[in-house]
Amino acid sequence: MAEVQTNMRQPWILGDKKPIDVSNDICEIIERKPTGLWWAAFLTSLTMLIVGTVAVIYQMSTGIGTWGLNKTVGWAFDITNFVFWIGIGHAGTLISAILFLFRQKWRTSVNRAAEAMTLFAVMCAGLFPLIHMGRPWLFYWIVPYPNFRGPLWVNFRSPLCWDFFAISTYFTISAVFWYIGLMPDLATIRDRAKPGWRKKIMGFFSFGWNGSYRTWSRYEVVYLMLAGLATPLVLSVHTIVSMDFATSIVPGWHTTIFPPYFVAGAIFSGFAMVLTLMLIARKVMRLEDYFTVRHVDAMCKIIILTGSLVGLAYLTEFFTAAYSGNGYEQFVFFNRAAGPFAWAYWTMITCNVITPQLLWFKKIRSNLLLVFLLSIVVNIGMWFERFVIIVTSLHRDYLPSSWADYTPTIIEILTLVGSFGLFLTAFLLFCRFLPVIAIAEVKGVLSFGRPKKIRQPDLDGSETKEEAEPEMEGVTL
């Protein structure tokens, strides 16, 4: 039979794999014993998590006076971390939902890990406002429930209240989206596993999935619906986060550019984090055939785009301040670039605007070590972006007599370390127990067994006899 490949593009998955190879490659990672490297990484992350937990317990029991905040700088490290983590999360939804709508097949190699990353990043993000409340045991007051305090309802006009709804919805929808995507893979693991705890647990959580075409058909529809819902959702979440700032009248915050600027920044930092994690995972778990240089290339291009959007936003902010004729606004931006926090500002500019431009060169995009280093640089830059926006806008306000400085305390730094600990611990556990690549989705983009042309057999005639001959030989119909 002549195999005519009309597909001009190279396949996304290398190694000429068949579906069974995909199942084997991905499932073996979780079926074999963890390596020494995994244990080392896990114990390090766990230590970070424990250190962070101790810091949080200390600041809870002592009070948030343990932070470096003062009357002028009322938001600093904590809210920086919150915005940083929520931004990291956005790449996962972008990859799973927006690229799905755009029919980008390369997403299948990264979407599972990116969605998991979203969940863990949103968990980390959610912790910070909780800690920031000072009395986190009363966090449920943000939920509008009938109570004996009036009933005193929450203030639906407040962006902080919008934020609570946005983030809890985002977390729920991301979790549901991720779980739905996992179900077929859990069934694959279940059916491969020998009788034992793995089979039982996977059997429970795979909901009796058996691959029926009616289920698949509805599943595809629901996946599309969720992608359609998650797309505006992800844009709305960071828009609302930016409104926490933009609806206030603090110079440097009070700008209409904030929503698109924050969303672009979120995708920028999130993609960098996905690259950081996936480049490590690729090496450690030997996923070179699944997460190829072409995948990295595609992601680098999105980083250039969003990084340049962020750079444009920085320029626009400056222009708006200069053109506004508003002295306070002009001062804030002058102070950012030349004030006491100029080092943070120029770190941000270097990491977010200048170094990512190196990715225009194909040579650099295909050098994975360089891409890995650049992705870390972007992560650092985006953390500083939030720090610059928050602290430099606050520390020199309208009254020079109340100007103040800000230095984070060791407690605040350890809390950030702890959030990285939580993120990495959760991610490493995910890599151990769940398929890190969407098995069923990758099988769907393999070039194996794709219909080139469906031939209908003519069992009475002889028109297709030639093609069907090998199978039909010696059979009289």
């Binding site: 639906f156 077929p184 998650a230 769907g444 069992l459």
Partner: protein, 175 residues
């Protein structure tokens, strides 16, 4: 009541698609088709009505948005009105963000629950596999041997034409 079932097992997506289409064109009753991943074009090949889940999703979205709008109006302008910065009690533009979030929440979670109900999937359900490996690398088609016109020999040949790896007949309790 029990019925006779004909099972054909295949290795490639193009073969199961061809087989499904051939079976449908011959007027055979397809009980079910099992595949390890979503085979595009299977709906057309095997003949299946489009899902009503998008309508469910839409209705749930309207429900979520409607309920939330009403709730925000009721709490802030009827039940316990509070003057916030001199804004009107029913300052509806400020209600838009949360209304949107709740709409997405209702539609997303509700549609997934609807999927579970429609497909009868629930935690801990015991999976009934048509053939070992249908969640791995095998595609299986189940045909009902409804009456005497079902020619097992012919269907076996048809399966062979589509490179089947295995065919069998079995008796199973029908639902």
């Amino acid at each position: 009541m029990s019925r006779r079932v004909f099972v054909g097992v295949f290795e490639a997506e193009e073969d199961i698609l061809g087989m499904a289409q051939a079976a449908r064109e011959r007027g055979l009753k397809i009980i079910d088709i099992f595949s390890p991943y979503a085979v595009h074009g299977m709906e057309q090949a095997a003949g299946i009505k489009p899902s009503r889940l998008p309508i469910t999703c839409f209705i749930l979205a309207l429900l979520g948005a409607g309920l939330k709008t009403w709730f925000e109006f009721w709490t802030t302008s009827v039940n316990w009105p509070i003057d916030v910065g001199g804004k009107p009690w029913n300052s509806w533009p400020a209600f838009v963000p949360i209304t949107f979030e709740v709409m997405v929440l209702f539609a997303g979670v509700g549609t997934v629950i609807a999927l579970f109900i429609a497909c009868r999937l629930y935690p801990g359900k015991k999976a009934k596999l048509a053939f070992p490996g249908v969640t791995d690398d095998r595609f299986a088609i189940l045909l009902e041997e409804s009456d005497a016109t079902f020619d097992v020999e012919e269907i076996t040949q048809l399966c062979k034409h589509f490179n089947s790896t295995h065919v069998e007949e079995r008796t199973e309790e029908s639902d």
